[in-house]
Structures are given as C-alpha cells and as structure tokens.
C-alpha cells in the first residue's frame, strides 16, 4: 500500500474513533448542536424583536448563527485533542506503523462533520421559524462550501490550540475567544450600530466577511459580501492551524 493510501486508511480509522467519542459525550452533542439552536431561539424570539435591521430578523441572523454553530462546538475538539496527548493511547499509536498525521486529521474531520451537522440543524430550525432565503441552487452550494471551509479552518486552529495547551481545561478555555468572536461581528446586529472601537474591530475581524458572504449568498446577492476576504481568512486559518499543529505534535509526540 502506498503511504498516501495508508494515511487515508489510518485517518478513516481515527475518524471512526472520534465520531464514536463525539456521540458518546452528551456535553459535546449539547455544545455543538443544541447550544446554537438555543442561542438561535434566544436571539430570534427574545432579543430579535428589539433590533431594527431592515429585514425580518430571522433572515438577518441566520448567517451569523451558522458561524456561531461552527464556533460553539470547538471546545470539544481542543479538549479531546489535549486528552489524547496526555493519555497513553497516543504513545501506543506512535510505536505502531501508523501515519503521523492521522490522529490530527481524524480530529479535524470529525470537527468539520460536527459543525456541518450543527449548521444543517440551524438551517432546519430557521426554516421552521420563517426563514425565507432567496438563494438559488448555486448560491446554496456556495453557502455549504463556505461553511465546510470555515469548519475545516476552525478545526485546524482548534487542534493547534488543543496541542499547545498544557491541560484539557485550558485547552477548552483557549477556544472561548473563537466562541466570543461572532458576538463582536455583524452576526446579530449591523456593525455600524456599534460603539466606536468595537465597530472597527467588528468590521475587520475574520468572521465578518464570512458572515457577510453567507448573508449575500442566502439573500441571492453573492456580491453582498467580500467572498475573497472570507476565503482568504479561512485558508489562512487552515495554514496557520496546520503548521502550528504539526509543529506542536512532533514536539509533544
């Protein structure tokens, strides 16, 4: 077997393991799938009526909630990556002829799968709440593509954070900024309604172009957001997360 197909097969084994881990941990299921839905209900049903965004609030908030669905499940990934490094299982894999990156790839892929499932759930609930997008099939594909790309990017960054942290607790804590970022963006209210300082931050932080691009695609107006900036941020996260992960992994492992 070539080393590439070996690496694929090893990653598939590790992915199966990570999926089982996710399914067996109720906290992970809650944080990554149910929590975003709870937040969605809060924003749309409780706060949303008070915000004036120039369109039905559910249409405005759904793109931001998609990003939030991606970020809120990340704590589980960094914690379990860190756990893996501290427990003996990693030393067993090291002395086997197992592809080095398979452990990390398994974590990234399971994160992306979990985030995508959470996003699908958000879209489902959004429709139930009266979400009325104007996107055509191609634009929906764009939405799915960007959500998956963002998930993979966040996955690599989170794996890196999990590897860099000294304890599972601090690994979980390290993802809190990622979870907070959607709030400091145009996800729930337009950035130009924010106080100065916060507004500039919201305009230039990575999640804003992603949210604006999703919003544009869902509204049937792909030029509504800076798609190039969104993709560039995601690719940048993938590269940084990957390089940082591999470096910490070979140091610790």
């Amino acid at each position: 077997m070539s080393s590439v197909s070996t690496a694929w097969a090893d990653s598939a084994v590790m992915l199966r393991r990570n999926i089982k881990h996710s399914m067996r941990n109720p906290v992970v299921v809650f944080n990554s799938v149910l929590f975003p839905i709870v937040m969605m209900l809060m924003f749309v049903k409780v706060f949303g009526g008070g915000f004036s965004v120039g369109e039905p609030y559910i249409d405005y908030a759904t793109p931001g909630l998609l990003v939030m669905a991606v970020s809120s499940g990340l704590g589980a990934t960094s914690t379990s990556v860190n756990d893996d490094m501290r427990k003996g299982i990693i030393s067993r894999l090291q002395v086997m002829d197992v592809s080095r990156g398979a452990v990390l790839t398994g974590h990234v892929v399971v994160t992306a799968v979990r985030c995508t499932v959470a996003c699908a759930a958000i879209v489902g609930v959004a429709f139930a709440l009266g979400f009325d997008p104007s996107a055509n099939a191609l634009e929906w594909l764009g939405v799915i593509g960007l959500v998956v790309l963002l998930s993979v990017a966040a996955g690599w960054l989170t794996v890196a954070l999990g590897l860099a942290a000294k304890t599972p607790e601090s690994a979980g804590l390290a993802t809190v900024p990622l979870i907070m970022l959607p709030f400091l963006s145009s996800a729930f209210v337009p950035a130009d309604t924010m106080g100065s300082g916060v507004r500039q931050f919201a305009e230039y932080q990575p999640f804003t172009p992603v949210i604006e691009t999703l919003r544009g695609l869902l509204a049937g107006d792909p030029s509504g957001g800076d798609a190039m900036a969104a993709v560039a941020w995601c690719v940048g996260f993938v590269v940084v997360g990957y390089v940082w992960s591999v470096a910490s992994f070979s140091r610790r492992a």
Partner: protein, 315 residues
C-alpha cells in the same frame, strides 16, 4: 550473534546534565524472555523508549529485529515498528471505546483482516463479558489485560512490557505471568522491565540489573541468585550475653553488636526453623524478635553494588 532479537551496545542517553543511561550493552536471544530489573529511576523506561523508536539515543547502536534503531532512518523505524508491540506502564487504551472497539481499532490500523481475531483475544484475556462496556469502566487489572491484548494484535515478534504488573493485585499478576509464558511458548521474544525480583526470577531466561544507568549484573536467574544473599533468619536479643551465646552455638551466623542482632543462614522451611528454635530453647535463649528474611530487590542491590538502592535510602 545472528539469532539476537535485540542487540544493544554502548547505549547512552542523557537529559541535559543528568546521565540516564551510561553505556549499556546487552543481547536478547530470539524467543527468550529478557528482564531488566531495577528500582524507579534506574533508566528502564528510557531504555524501552529508545528500543521502541520513541526516543533517540545519544550514542551507541541498537538493533531491534535486525534493524538499526539508532540510524533513525524512516525505513528502519518503520520496519522496527512493524515488528514490535509495546505495553507501557500506563494502560494505553481508549476510555471512550469498548474493549471490543479498542481491539478492532488495532486490527484496522494493522490491517489484520481476520474476523475472528477480536473475539479470540477477548476470550483469551477473559474479557468477553465486558467486551461491550467502555474501557473507562474497567478495573486496573482489566485495563492492563486489554492493553496487552491490543499489543498482541498483528502478532508482533518482539514484545516490550514496561513494568506490566506494577500496581496489580496478586491474582491479576499471576494471570499476566501466565500470558507471558504462553507468548514465549509461541516463540515471541519478550523484553520485560520490572521492579520485582520474583517476577524476573519467575519469567526471565536472562536478567540484567540496571542501577543508575549502568548494568551492574547480567546473567541467568540462577547465576544472579548465587551472587545474592540467601534466605536467613534474623534474631534480635535484649542482652549482649545472649547474643554471645547464640553466636557461639549457631554455626555460620553473623552478628551485629550494635543492633544486638544475629543473622543465621537458613532455607526458611518449617523443619529447619523448628530445629533452630529447639537449639535456642536448649540453651535457654529467648530472642525478642524472630524474622525469616527472603532476599528482595534491595538485598540484590546491596549485594551487587555494595550499597542500598536509592529507594531504600529514601525509605
């Protein structure tokens, strides 16, 4: 020697200023059990880590299954990894998977396509009943057994067991010994580290005693035992006069005037102990303390190095 499963010469390793392995040499014949005996901190785990490709040596050559570990080429490392199985001091099992799933994961990673293998291993290690429970719920002994079962997937030719019975209850320990014997009967080479003299004695064909990074002794269990203090009886008296009398009548005894104790060589069997007590009675002697002492690791260290092990000093 061509039949060596492991050949180590002049192996050195230091962490900064602290020398952990100070040039050790040994050879493990294929199909034999080699035991590295030593107290905590002697360098046993470091040796295992180097031999199993987890750590680079500073100097020396290490051949495992005919491949040069110290060369650290990707091909040699992979060839070694494919030939060995390792069970470390801490059970390397996945807590969130069941016993069966842990074994299946190993089978998948080693591309073993035998549908019966997992069930066979569960049965062999007496884990069938708990096969579908999460490993997190297993007792210490069960985790060790699962750990060893995982190591056996893919039939490695050389198995490293790093203190496989530390922390196990006596019954699980015996089970572990039984499994090791079965493996050897199948022709597997075993490299075993232990802190227990009796474990090395029970299992090993050859024993190397490691102390502060040096091999202080090396041989078959019988050869080593000849160099060790035998079983003896220790008597403590209250009166120096009694000690004098006892030392005179008990041949081969050694006395300690400060402690008022007398060491009498003995096989420790009931008949010879009765005879010894009878002699004391005849001379109207009463020992305040009477203890039968079988040699342990501390005695071995005292005999081999002329000083107690670091741990015994700490006590």
């Amino acid at each position: 020697m061509t039949s060596s499963a492991i050949a180590v010469s002049c192996l050195r390793k230091a962490y900064g200023d602290k020398v952990v392995l100070d040039g050790i040499d040994f050879d493990v014949a294929a199909g034999s059990v080699f035991s590295m005996l030593g107290p905590n901190g002697a360098g046993k785990t470091t040796t295992v880590n180097i031999l199993t490709t987890l750590m680079a040596a500073d100097a020396g050559t290490v051949l495992v299954a005919g491949h040069d570990v110290t060369a650290a080429t990707a091909t040699a490392t992979r060839a070694v990894r494919a030939a060995i199985g390792v069970t470390g001091q801490f059970a390397a099992v996945d807590d969130l998977l069941s016993g069966r799933e842990n074994l299946q994961m190993m089978a998948d990673l080693k591309r073993v396509r035998s549908p019966r293998l997992v069930a066979q291993l569960l049965e062999r290690f007496d884990l069938t009943e708990s096969a579908d429970k999460l490993a997190a719920t297993y007792s210490g002994g069960m985790r060790r057994k699962l750990d060893l079962a995982m190591t056996l997937v893919g039939d490695p030719r050389i198995i490293f067991l790093d203190e496989p019975t530390t922390g196990l209850d006596p019954r699980s320990r015996r089970t572990m010994w039984g499994i090791v014997r079965e493996l050897v009967a199948d022709g597997t080479t075993i490299f075993l580290t232990t802190q227990y003299l009796d474990e090395a004695d029970q299992l090993a064909d050859r024993i190397a005693v490691l102390d502060q990074g040096r091999l202080v002794a090396h041989g078959t269990p019988d050869e080593l035992k000849r160099r060790m203090p035998g079983t003896h009886v220790r008597l403590r008296f209250t009166d120096p006069a009694d000690l004098d009398t006892a030392a005179r009548i008990l041949a081969g005894s050694t006395r300690d005037d400060q402690e008022l104790t007398l060491r009498v060589p003995s096989d420790g069997e009931s008949r010879s102990l009765r005879a010894l007590l009878d002699v004391l009675d005849e001379h109207l002697l009463n020992a305040r303390e009477f203890a039968v002492h079988t040699p342990d690791l501390d005695d071995v260290f005292l005999a081999l190095t002329g000083r107690p092990s670091a741990e015994a000093i700490a006590k």
